[in-house]
Symmetry: C2
Subunit: 212 residues, 2 copies
DNA sequence: CCCTGTGAATTTATTCACAGCA
DNA sequence: TGCTGTGAATAAATTCACAGGG
């Protein structure tokens, strides 16, 4: 029954989940969910089947239990505390953005910086804390996720320090590869300028489309 | 010689490129480049081999020609103009972030919004323009890439309008699937809250690591 | 001997096709 | 009949293993 769930599936689950919490339906079919999220219906059925038979044949899936199950799988059912390190443009934007998205499952509980001019200023509902307090705050606030929005030069050292006190998961916006010595630390790298460069490959000739 | 270059390779090229422009070396081996960017050396050799034999056996790769070739592949050699639509937290942060990253290859040339209170304000070196001017600006500024940092409700319609006047590539931060009718439009979806949710799967038990 | 280039093997992911149940 | 669940087929990506040139 319980085989390993592929990474690709895990990365799709949050997209399903968001639609499920906003859809205002009691039941849904893989076709509808696929339409809404941009994946194929087979893919969705296969993904959902990894964690048991939730659908009823001929009908579809009950939204509420499906939603609960995805939250359980993603470990969102008891909430995750995240810490943003680096209160520059990106860091502050991220805090405010997540703040206003009203997420209850993943919550940003602290913003750190090492610039004395920034420490103490308000960002959304938080106050920027000095980097020296990092280890203590991670401990007391039960931080399980690190969001790195700082310069490449500092990112590696900070990640190492966070990993040392038990942070296993990172969202890294710094333009550098993070390699803590720990094998079970997971780093998701997002580099906005790299994304744009890769995208540029797909730009090709700039021609107005015929209205089909 | 010229078989199709896989998508996965294209997405890695920008990471190689960034290291190549900052490394201050004349030659580099696949091992060194791999160490620096976090990929395996075999992978790098395979990637680079897709666009011809650039290395010399026993020695490595000449940095300058390799750099030029990657830029050519990614179509970064003649520059790409991008337009950011939505001057909220994320949009403004993105503009300032890319501004200060001093990118010459992908350049943000315009920021649009529909809020009269925001139109006319400065964001980095740009002034926020009204959404009505979008089609005209895309034309006159030769915009080839759209960056969508606006609410889900507006994103689909805006993308459609942009595609109609020839924008083929989108970086979509809005929490919604973009489906223009056009098959050759490429949408890269980035959803920061979804990334954090997927990451939460990897948080598991929060235990300090033993210093190994 | 070192490091590239590349077929072959393997792993991973997606799509197909259809059996089975409401 | 409609939609799920799933093995089988296919495709894509990665890793292995080593031949071959400098």
């Amino acid at each position: 029954m319980s085989q390993r769930i592929p990474d690709a599936t895990i990365r799709r689950l949050p997209a399903y989940l968001r639609w499920l919490v906003t859809c205002n339906l009691e039941r849904v079919t893989s076709g509808i969910l696929g339409q809404a999220t941009g994946f194929s219906s087979e893919q969705i059925r296969k993904d959902l089947a990894y964690f048991g038979a939730f659908g009823t044949r001929g009908v579809g899936y009950e939204v509420a239990p499906l939603r609960r199950e995805i939250m359980r799988i993603l470990q969102l059912d008891h909430g995750i505390q995240a810490m943003v390190v680096g209160a520059g443009h990106l860091g502050t934007a991220l805090v405010r953005y997540v703040d206003q998205a009203q997420q209850r499952d993943v919550k940003i509980v602290a913003v750190m910086d090492n610039n004395p001019r920034v420490i103490g200023t308000e960002v959304g509902s938080l106050v920027v804390q000095p980097i020296e307090a990092m280890e203590n705050l991670i401990e007391t606030l039960h931080v399980g996720m690190g969001v790195l929005t700082l310069p490449a030069s500092a990112a590696v050292e900070i990640a190492e320090r966070m990993a040392n006190v038990g942070v296993h998961a990172f969202l890294n916006f710094a333009p550098v590869a993070i390699c803590t010595g720990y094998p079970d630390v997971f780093v998701q790298h997002i580099d906005l300028t790299l994304e744009m460069q890769a995208l540029s490959y797909f730009v090709r000739t700039r021609q107005p489309h015929p209205i089909s």
